[in-house]
């Protein structure tokens, strides 16, 4: 495939792997967090760990939009469909996230809730136009990447004077989550999570640019390399991080120059700033309440805010006690540290959100990498 196969070239990958192995200092480990689920997925799907020397320790981060969505928010979405009779439009990945009472959006759908999978926010707007007699709610989730399209449909609904369309906003912010991890006792005091550097988000950075990461590099003295989601991008970013750490540098470097600029996408940022404002606090699954880490719809667009229209009340719901998603999302534990991983909790019957999306650390390891946990005999 044009311009895709080039980023998945096995020969080139081995060259980079050889360089990483040659430059990694003997006797030290390099603990690198890939923030994004997209990177987690690429690492597992292409078997990157098989190419990396043992000195490189990859720590999965919380950057999986579905994984960080707390149970209470899914409950709210189900309530919109079941109690308020609204058509709830959602991105596919959220369909299977477990909610309270053994429900999920998919199970609620089987019980008669009108829940529709859409590929883009614009599809939700179209459904509202086609069903003028029904209330249509777009269940907006995701990091900075999916936020501008949501802003666009809210403005579109206003321009079209739609009375039956609203957005249930759950957009969250990457920099706030990274700060939260770096400030967590596990990293700062207890040293439970060794973190030497970050592979910075790919798609998120196309919107916000590379500048927002300067703060971490400086304040916490951790190097950040922004990388694309292709396997070669990840390999190259690891090499760049190893070099920074060897040279004692902590800078923001951009491996993903084909898409990311220092300033990001000015048009998208203006659009988002026009429609959304910061929430004082927002609950993340795994991270708990994180200050100024999410967006809400501004008062000027309150007519399109489902929370206001339907009087939605958020109620925090604790995770299943056996589920380690919280610790896994903070990088404290690995999927295999969880007792229910691969037993009670599988992609068919996920207990926690990390087992749902293919970007979740548990699902990625279960789906692509669990042969590593057992010795496999050759023929």
């Amino acid at each position: 495939m044009k311009y895709i196969a080039e980023y998945r070239d096995g020969t080139l990958a081995r060259d980079i792997a050889d360089r990483i192995a040659a430059e990694a200092r003997p006797g030290r480990t390099y603990s690198l967090m890939e923030f994004c689920g997209g990177h987690t997925h690429a690492i597992s799907r292409y078997g990157l760990k098989d190419l990396l020397p043992p000195a490189i320790n990859m720590v999965h981060g919380p950057g999986c939009p579905v994984c960080v969505l707390p149970i209470g928010r899914i409950d709210n979405a189900i309530e919109l469909a079941m109690q308020h009779g609204a058509i709830v439009c959602t991105y596919a990945d959220t369909m299977r996230v477990p909610a309270s009472g053994g429900l999920s959006l998919m199970k609620a759908k089987a019980r008669g809730a009108d829940i529709r999978m859409v590929y883009s926010a614009a599809d939700a707007l179209r459904i509202a136009q086609e069903n003028p007699e029904r209330q249509v709610v777009f269940f907006a989730i995701g990091f900075e990447t999916t936020t501008p399209p949501t802003a666009l449909v809210i403005k579109g609904a206003q321009a079209a004077g739609l009375k039956n369309f609203s957005v249930f906003c759950n957009h969250v912010l990457t920099p706030a989550a990274i700060t939260h991890i770096l400030e967590s006792p596990e990293v700062r005091e207890l040293g439970l999570v060794p973190l030497d550097g970050f592979i910075g988000p790919a798609h998120v950075s196309t919107i916000i640019g590379s500048q927002p990461y300067e703060y971490f590099a400086e304040e916490y003295a951790k190097p950040v390399v922004i990388a694309g989601f292709e396997p070669l991008d990840v390999m190259q970013a690891i090499l760049m991080l190893v070099r920074q750490l060897n040279e004692g540098r902590a800078e923001v470097e951009n491996e993903f120059t084909r898409a990311v600029t220092p300033e990001g996408n000015a048009k998208a940022k203006t659009l988002v700033a026009d429609v959304f404002e910061l929430r004082k606090t927002f609950e993340w699954r795994g991270l708990g309440e994180v200050p100024y880490s999410a967006l809400k719809i501004k008062a000027a667009y309150a007519d399109y805010d489902a929370e206001a229209r339907f009087g939605i009340r958020y109620q925090s719901v604790p995770d299943n006690k056996a589920c380690e998603c919280g610790a896994i999302l903070r990088g404290v534990k690995k999927p295999t540290d969880c007792k229910v991983f691969g037993t009670v909790c599988t992609p068919e019957n996920p207990l926690g959100s990390c087992m749902v999306s293919s970007e979740g650390a548990c699902a990625a390891h279960y789906t692509y990498g669990r042969f590593k946990d057992v010795p496999v005999k050759a023929a």
Partner: protein
């Protein structure tokens, strides 16, 4: 001379007419639809018997019987329609059992309001597919459900075929060391369908690979009678089919990603949608497992057949008590190729 006038029967309006409840009531309207549409299109000596069941000659061997229900949106797609698919799907299930398909049956569930013009197109396409395959539709049934209780048309086809003496193909036959062969590119059908779904409007030139595979299987079995297992990787794609065989046989598998043929257009569409071609449906492909020493001969036979020109040796069977299907990625790493989880859903980020 009788004074009773002969009935005037208004011909079925195949241009503007629609299915109504009378077409399934067992009365004249139903008889007329069967006569003017189904009997005329499928026309063969067994159907012409006009009885409740078709009386067939002794088949002369062990029988294979397979059934498949077809529900698909859209009904018409690039490379076929629900009619041709219903014929190919069942013929393929019979063929990969090692049998020569002999007869088909067809059951239709029609939704009130379904345009007769569309029904005619579907039935004629079925008739053409059955004729091209040389497998007659010898019996059938039609029911009508109220509007809103169906999705236009559902078709269930059942096929019977006869298996040569001594042949015993089974998903439980794979042994460590065996070769895994694939008859061509994967994902064509699923991507062709998805690209035509109304809420997914991107244009591709990808055609469904829907085809009857029985001549291919016949050629393969004639040349290499030691084939252990044949399977057509439909729903759930290649990954699911191989996991089924691995579990049934109690073995593991190792695939080579670089050797699995995927059209660049299909690869691009999957990339765009966040899908994996390994899990996308096929309707004209098969997987064969054979002893290693027969692999080269089998591959040559497959490639010599028009439905197997892109056939490839994609991996091998090995002992593994966990029954993992694994893959050496083109990138150089290793991964599990797991069962499909739920429905294949696109990723967000």
């Amino acid at each position: 001379m009788s004074t009773i006038k002969r009935d005037y029967v208004r011909p079925v309006d195949f241009k503007h007419g629609r299915i109504d409840m009378t077409h399934g009531s067992g009365g004249r309207a139903m008889a007329q639809l069967i006569e003017e549409l189904f009997a005329r299109a499928f026309d063969n000596e067994f159907l012409a018997q006009g009885n409740d069941g078709a009386l067939l000659p002794p088949p002369g061997g062990r029988l294979v019987m397979a059934t498949d229900s077809h529900v698909i949106t859209p009904l018409f797609f690039a490379g076929g329609d629900i009619g041709s698919l219903a014929v190919h799907g069942t013929i393929n299930d019979v063929a990969v059992s090692g049998a020569r398909p002999l007869y088909l049956s067809a059951g239709f569930i029609l939704e009130e309001g379904f345009p007769l013009a569309d029904l005619k197109r579907i039935v004629e396409s079925m008739a053409a597919a059955a004729r091209a395959a040389g497998v007659p539709i010898v019996t059938g049934d039609t029911k009508v459900v109220e509007k809103g209780k169906g999705d236009g048309v559902f078709i269930t086809t059942t096929g019977v075929g006869v298996v040569p003496e001594g042949l015993r193909l089974s998903g439980a036959n794979a042994r460590p060391g065996d070769a895994i062969l694939l008859s061509g590119t994967i994902g064509d059908h699923g991507v062709a369908i998805m690209s035509q779904r109304e809420n997914l409007s991107f244009e591709t030139t990808i055609q469904s690979d829907s085809a009857a595979l029985h001549t291919l299987t016949a050629a393969m079995l004639e040349a290499v009678p030691t084939i252990r297992c044949l399977r057509d990787p439909t729903r759930g794609g290649l990954a699911t089919t191989l996991n089924e065989i691995a579990r049934q046989s109690g073995v593991g598998m190792m695939l080579r990603e670089a050797d699995i043929p995927v059209r660049p257009e299909v690869d691009a569409a999957c990339e765009f949608l966040g899908l994996d071609p390994l899990y996308v449906a096929n309707e004209g492909k098969l997987v064969a497992i054979c002893p290693p020493e027969s692999a080269a001969a089998l591959l040559a036979v497959m490639r010599a057949h028009p439905l197997g020109t892109a056939a490839a040796l994609i991996g091998s069977v090995h002992a593994d008590e966990h029954h993992f299907v694994q893959m050496e990625t083109a990138f150089g790493g290793r991964r599990v190729v797991d069962w499909l989880t739920g429905e294949q859903l696109p990723r967000i980020c």
